[in-house]
């Protein structure tokens, strides 16, 4: 068979194999919208709690975020295949969601969520952990940079005034949720645009 096969065609076959394997494993970039959505949820909760609803602002905002995530995810990717890598990354984010969903309402309802510095530091550290673990699994430097920003925000939140701590939190949300999410969505769209139909 290879009598008629040119070197260029063989190289093209090799690159087709690599791109298709990568395609099957590509997951996080398709989830860019969730980072943007949760960034907006955090902003909503912060604005709402600034208006005086400190106890209910976070649990209600997060509940809205969970409902929207589940509905959009089921509409978008009902036929997505499962991979070990995808399950590992998904498990980290689900575990983070459960931890935050249990911890923060409990702190709010018990009246122990009084120190804003501790609140921001805990959220930032949790998000740094989840982003860091995902980045190490996926070997994704951009997400690792987000993890570093969250870790820096967690440490910075322990110092300075309330206002300074809040500015650090808002900036970290903007960089690691909104900007990173939009970057993921653009990368996903570009990847889809580059794909050409494959014929037999």
């Amino acid at each position: 068979m290879q009598d008629q096969t040119s070197e260029q065609e063989l190289k093209e076959r090799l690159s087709l194999i690599e791109s298709m394997i990568a395609e099957g494993r590509r997951h996080t970039e398709s989830w860019g919208w969730t980072f943007v959505l949760w960034g907006l949820v955090y902003y909503l909760a912060i604005a709402w709690s600034a208006w005086g609803q400190r106890v209910w602002a976070w649990p209600v905002s997060m509940l809205i975020g969970v409902i929207v995530t589940v509905v959009v995810a089921s509409l978008k990717g009902g036929n997505q295949p499962e991979t070990t890598l995808g399950r590992a990354v998904g498990s980290i984010w689900i575990a983070l969601g459960i931890s935050m969903f249990l911890l923060f309402p409990a702190l709010g309802l018990s009246g122990r969520l009084t120190d804003q510095h501790v609140f921001v530091a805990v959220i930032a550290a949790l998000l740094g952990m989840a982003n860091g673990a995902s980045a190490l699994i996926l070997r994704w430097k951009v997400q690792l940079a987000c993890a570093v920003v969250w870790w820096v925000a967690a440490v910075a939140a322990c110092f300075g005034t309330d206002a300074q701590g809040m500015i650090v939190f808002l900036a970290a949300i903007f960089l690691c949720q909104i900007v990173f999410g939009v970057y993921g969505m653009i990368a996903d769209a570009q990847e889809r645009g580059r794909r050409a139909p494959i014929h037999a």
């Binding site: 040119s6 494993r25 499962e82």
Partner: protein, 111 residues
């Protein structure tokens, strides 16, 4: 490795043959896609390859007949779903194909 004036590779006794079942572009893409996931739906494979239903179905059938894929049909919310999974034989055939490709290309692989 010898090449003709047109760049075609000359057949030599010590060079490996490329498996014709795996060599087809769409079949190769399907095996590669399935090697990276546990199992995949027909619609997902169609979206990733952008092939037509008829062509995709025909190539999947060839791979199934060669023993490289298994097919499972089920209903989810009363909608039919066809799931494909690569077999050990399929994985082995893909690995051997990649090794043969690399052997054929030789030093040209990095060029």
């Amino acid at each position: 490795m010898r090449r003709s004036a047109g760049g075609a590779l000359q057949s030599m006794p010590d060079l490996p043959e490329l498996n014709p079942v795996v060599h087809g572009r769409l079949r190769l893409a399907l095996l590669s896609l399935l090697s990276g996931v546990e199992e995949a739906e027909f619609t997902w494979l169609r979206a990733k390859t952008e092939a037509t239903d008829g062509n995709l179905g025909a190539q999947l059938l060839k791979l199934e007949e060669a023993g490289y894929l298994t097919v499972k049909k089920k209903f989810v919310l009363r909608k039919p779903q066809t799931l494909y999974r690569i077999t050990e034989t399929g994985r082995q055939a893909l690995t051997e194909y990649v090794q043969a490709l690399k052997q054929l290309l030789g030093p040209a692989i990095d060029a």
